[in-house]
Symmetry: C3
Subunit: 343 residues, 3 copies
């Protein structure tokens, strides 16, 4: 475990190209919210909802936009985008678990593998036939890298990650515990009175800088591969079915699901527990709000939704019961209009 570091305001200003107002020698040892930060901590103001907290902050310094500077009672670092600046500065204060190069004695590594000498293989890892682990990759405890899988340079499997077979991770991919990548796609043919399993002969390709959340599952393809392009960000408990293709820089929130062979564009944002049906195409820069179901292909960028609003249960029951008669209402409404026009 590395020790948390401390930094002067002047160091931070120079390192991240931020303009400094105040005491460059001020030493900061951590980062905290405006409400909670103390004099040895840095804070930030990005969301205008928190502007009111600025006046009373006891932070040592605050990252903010020039327009908020006049209201800041303490030292400041000026950023065009304080949220991005916060993200970068916070990384300095993160304690990363130590991960020395080498293979832990409890790991089980097949004779036919290529593991870089600079890679770190943790306790109880299992690495299968034909697998490759590239330079600087870190496998935390209990990771399984199955046959013919590759873990790209500087990638990190936090702990208990399973790559089943024919999975290729790019560089700097981060995978959280419990994720399962490369399991069988759900392919079945119905033969008279029972199911016949369709072998899943494809693999999974994950681009550079992707992040895969805890307990997320990504199936391998039936014939071709399941693909995530670079910088795709998946939250926890997401389900990506076989032969899905997700474009670069798209982000999916927790519990979203994409059915087989769907194609999601670049820079898309899929909300929590939203779903996309199989074989659909979603254009670049589409946003789907939480819990919506995409039932047809989307050709135009923009925001899309389905569902009904939350109500107290008594009101909801009354309205929901009427939903079953909407088509009838439509006909009756049209009939009334026709009568009126016929008068």
């Amino acid at each position: 475990m590395s020790q948390p570091s401390s930094h002067t305001l002047a160091e931070l200003a120079e390192r991240f190209g931020l303009r400094l107002r105040g005491d460059g020698n001020r030493r900061l040892e951590g980062i905290a919210t405006l409400a909670n930060a103390n004099a040895s901590q840095l804070s930030f103001l990005s969301n205008s909802k928190y502007t009111a907290q600025l006046a009373s902050t006891t932070a040592g310094a605050v990252i903010l936009r020039e327009e908020n500077l006049a209201d800041c009672p303490v030292d400041a670092l000026l950023a065009a985008d304080p949220y991005v600046a916060y993200a970068r500065v916070a990384a300095l204060f993160e304690r990363q678990p130590a991960s020395a190069p080498g293979i832990h004695p409890t790991a089980v590594v097949d004779a036919n593998t290529t593991v870089s000498a600079s890679a770190s293989i943790g306790p109880c890892c299992v690495i299968g036939h034909g697998a490759v682990v590239e330079d600087g990759a870190v496998l935390g405890p209990h990771c399984i890298v199955g046959d013919d899988c590759t873990v790209g340079a500087q990638s990190r499997l936090v702990a208990r990650v399973t790559l089943v077979t024919r999975v290729v991770l790019g560089r700097r991919v981060l995978v959280h515990p419990g994720a399962v990548i490369g399991s069988d796609g759900f392919g079945l043919a119905f033969d008279r009175d029972r199911w016949v399993k369709i072998p899943q002969l494809g693999g999974v390709r994950i681009g550079d800088d992707c992040e895969i959340g805890a307990n997320t599952t990504i199936d391998r393809g039936a014939l071709d591969d399941t693909v995530l392009e670079e910088d795709v960000r998946l939250d926890n408990q997401i389900q990506i079915a076989h032969n899905v293709h997700i474009g670069a820089h798209s982000a999916l929130a927790g519990c979203a699901a994409v059915a087989g062979s769907a194609k999601i564009g670049r820079y898309c944002m899929i909300g929590g527990n939203a779903g996309v049906l199989g074989h659909l195409e979603v254009a670049d820069r589409v946003t789907i709000t939480a819990k919506s179901l995409v039932t047809h292909s989307i050709r135009e960028p923009g925001e899309y939704s389905s569902g009904t609003p939350l109500q107290d249960n008594r009101s909801w029951r009354k309205n929901a019961a009427r939903f079953k008669h909407l088509d009838d209402f439509a006909r009756r409404l049209a009939a009334l209009e026709k009568d009126k026009n016929d008068e």
Copy 2:
């Protein structure tokens, strides 16, 4: 494996403060439903739906309310709340896996940890730097207790539980297999054309007597902690995002999800696959029905819902198509009313 025990009716009556009718020497070796129990088994009647089964039960004895006693053909234990009494009595008949104190030889324990001599650490467990395992805690096989995590006294990680980092479990916490607690919150800043990861510097605090279901995920906070107060009960495959706060005695059913920084009150009940959007507040004693989405803060106790009723697909298609014209209908309806009033 401890052997299942047997108990006389008189023992049970005294131990749980229940009134006995019948043969106190009757010996019971297990517990079963009214329909299936045999003469050496105890049963219970709590839900009035099953009252009709009482007359024909072949159980050795039945836990029930006084009002049902006249209809009971066998011995009985009287309880004000037979369901609670059943819960307590059933615990006597549960065979708990043996878990002798000590550390299994295949476990990997960092030199810098504090593991109580009365704790039980199972096969292939991995315990990281700075971790604490308190008195009587039981870690089943394949648990990972990451850096700076604490497992409170008498807590039980059934098997394959992952505590990633900065996770503190209270006393008597029960965690089921596949749960991941303390993984990175899903924090991203968008910098011109790609994502920048926001380090997740907070932790997770879980109160006494909480239960966490199989494959449930609880992310650690970005700056402050994610918090579950005492006696919170989470079913399987629940997703709790970073900085969520859940009040004491709330219970969430399977596949529910709570987005970042949402605050759920005490004594809430969240139905299966229901969702709560980020940064919302939900008051104490709120019930959300299954698959509903909470899209605004809820200030009053009560039951809340969203969604539409199930119909045969043909009817549903017709009605759902009309949903897209509801706003139009509203205007046309108002126009007809206006015309009528103008007449």
Copy 3:
């Protein structure tokens, strides 16, 4: 790792009872889509959407229906159901990971177990007291077979599968990584001001030829067992609560969930992220579309749905707001009709 095999067209025709048109000596080394197959690969045409790709395919041969034979520019195998034939033929080209009989030295096997000499137990597996692993069963790395569990003959736990306790798998059951079977059902009694846990004394029975997806969870019963009959197919991240019963040959897509004590019939199809509330019954041959919620028992075969259609967010907001007034609309519509009839 077995080597991929190659087969002549004549061999395939004979083995699978298909009629051959063309060069029986043609040797095929794999299977691919019509668009991607090369001259040493077999392809298939099942979905009429792809008929247009037939004319330009460069596959060595194609499995198809007689009606498409005239349009096929290459050799062909004729099948009544090309999709089923493809499923069977593809299995020949699947490379299965090697799994030699025997117990890996890193596995931890209780003294009181019955493990067949022909079973294969992988690295870091843990097998508990009273467990049985039958002939030819394969446990990949990191599987946990808890106390009193049985893995039936020829079953395969791919990797990191957890059978908690009292789980009986039939023959040829396939379970994918991260699945947790036999964890505690979510049973709680509310005692004045806090929860009392209800011990889960039942088990789980899984029939022959079932498949259980990655990170799927199946809880054990409270008193009786949770049951899957034969040939039930569960995709990834499905939640099956305690005492659920699922009939033979039913298939559930990813992220579906079935609440406690629900009974699903035979040959049912449950769509992705669909839900079934507790204690309901669903008849045989019922299809539930994706994301629908089953809120009442279904007595008749057929297709059922709930939900609203996807729209651009602006239109959706307008319509969704009107949903809250549907009951009011219904009354106003009826009033207008009454006025008209009274005229």
